[in-house]
Amino acid sequence: MGMTMTQKILAAHAGLDSVVAGQLIEADLDLVLGNDITSPVAIKEMAKMNLDTVFNKDKIALVPDHFVPNKDIKSAEHCKCVREFALKNNITNYFEVGQMGIEHALLPEQGLTVAGDVIIGADSHTCTYGALGAFSTGVGSTDMAAGMATGKAWFKVPGAIKFNIVGKPSKWISGKDVILHIIGKIGVDGALYKSMEFVGEGIKNLTMDDRFTIANMAIEAGAKNGIFPVDDLAKDYMKEHSKRDFVVYEADEDAVYDEEYTIDLSQLKPTIAFPHLPENTKTIDEIKEEIKIDQVVIGSCTNGRIDDLRCAAKLLEGRHVAKGMRLIVIPATQKIYLQAMEEGLLKTFIEAGGIVSTPTCGPCLGGYMGVLAENERCVSTTNRNFVGRMGHITSEIYLASPAVAAESAVKGYIAAPAV
């Protein structure tokens, strides 16, 4: 029986010729990731069990990014715990404030994730690296601890859903519209326990940053991972960013898929997820009333990359945010921050009346840097709009692309740019 791309990667890392959906395997890990929220729990668990060495100091990435620069004393203690562990174990890929970025933008940029890898991360959006043709999935702190100690993790081999991508997107349509459209179609548990396998001629019309955004939100459909084929664009990205060799796996012709969908990019419209689930999507033309908003956030592991900032800046150039609007722009890594500065994007954001922050996950999970008050509304390029996610339980989050976010900041209500 044929295997999917995900199944082939898992089989190779488990030392098996083939695997089938539902099979329990133990796989070798190429990278284990943690952040300032999840790593302290893993580090304490390791200490409690007297597991005092790591399997490979080069294959662990520790990225304090959620509540840094330290937002309060407790967060500072967490970061200190991670820093001390990194120093003690001589962890190669520890990223201090000043060199860091939001983990899922940072690791591909640093060349730490490549096609054919098996990666676990104690952060649900670890599935981002599927954009490069890797198997990567989010786990909890105990799995992270076990991974750091042994270099292995157990997996149940996932079944798969195939998304056949065709066509070319219209102006202002980006990866965020693609993935929100898909989640709206299949629901927040539509891919539960499964892999989302993206294929088709339309993929060539998606930039790498589009693909990172799409793979990033596979978890919002309940998926174990999302994965793209490795084309020339992906190979060029990896050659530019990484010194590591990559391995290209391709799905067998007779691979088994539980379901198949065709997504025609040319038919997609700006798509917005209404409170309080990413599946509550509407296209812009379905929104009849004027939904007034208080804040716009452009950033996060989903949409804080250079393409996203360029798109927002293009719309904000020479314009100003609506009266009373708070626009918060957060480049996802220091490198992206610098690039945005050199390209003059930051000037555009500031002149438009926005603020620009150092890389942090802060507002996405209601940590800091943009927490919402009672009944406030935010259009955000982040990934979750659950109750209380960004602040008060009566506040509302509308998930959208950088284009919709930027246009909404200017208009003061949910809006998409004119085509």
């Binding site: 329990l24 929220i37 999840t38 302290p40 729990v41 304490k44 668990e45 390791m46 409690k48 069990m49 597991l51 959620h66 509540f67 937002k71 309060d72 407790k74 967060s75 967490h78 991360g121 104690a122 952060d123 649900s124 670890t126 989010g138 786990v139 909890g140 702190s141 105990t142 799995d143 601890a145 076990a146 100690a149 042994t150 157990w154 927040v188 548990d189 539960l192 326990y193 978890i219 309940g222 174990k224 689930l277 999970l365 209601g366 940590g367 927490v371 979750r384 659950f386 109750v387 209380g388 996610r389 339980i393």
Partner: protein, 161 residues
């Protein structure tokens, strides 16, 4: 092993942000996390929960963030088991890895009411609603996961291997 307790009932897609809001993730202390458990979906949960009580929910329980703080908070609040129609996969893994008993059973998840007195036999997988007299059969864990649970968590299991 058995669990007996009063049921707290919730609906679909209970996410980890409402189980333990991120504003409390500057702590990783189980007892402290437990004082905010379910706060954004049920502000009286912490006040009303007693040791041994049971959470019952429908589809996709524990969706969202990978924070292990979510099952840790539930376990530390005294809950003896979570029954759901389905669980989000990271929450499912995390629960097994930290030794929080969970059980998938669509019939029980839909039929059991808030406040019912329920008894769960983990060995047989039988869920008995003492209030209504109904009985359900839960999905037993695969042998491999049972070993992790019996070892009281993944790290213990690795140590003993």
């Amino acid at each position: 092993m058995k669990a007996i307790g009063k049921v707290f009932k919730y609906g679909d897609n209970v996410d980890t942000d409402v189980i333990i809001p991120a504003r409390y993730l500057n702590s990783s202390d189980p007892a402290e996390l437990a004082t905010h458990c379910m706060e954004d979906i049920d502000k009286d949960f912490v006040k009303n929960v007693n040791k041994g009580d049971i959470i019952v929910a429908t589809k996709n329980f524990g969706c969202g963030s990978s924070r292990e703080h979510a099952p840790i908070a539930i376990k530390a609040s005294g809950v003896s088991c979570v029954i759901a129609d389905t669980f989000a996969r990271i929450f499912y893994r995390n629960s097994i890895n930290i030794g929080l008993p969970i059980m998938e059973c669509a019939e029980a998840a839909n039929a059991i009411n808030a406040g019912d007195e329920v008894e769960i036999d983990f060995d047989s997988g039988v869920i008995f609603d003492k209030t209504t007299g109904q009985s359900f059969k839960g999905q037993p864990f695969p042998e491999f996961m049972q070993k992790i649970i019996n070892a009281e968590g993944l790290l213990n299991y690795i140590k003993t291997k």
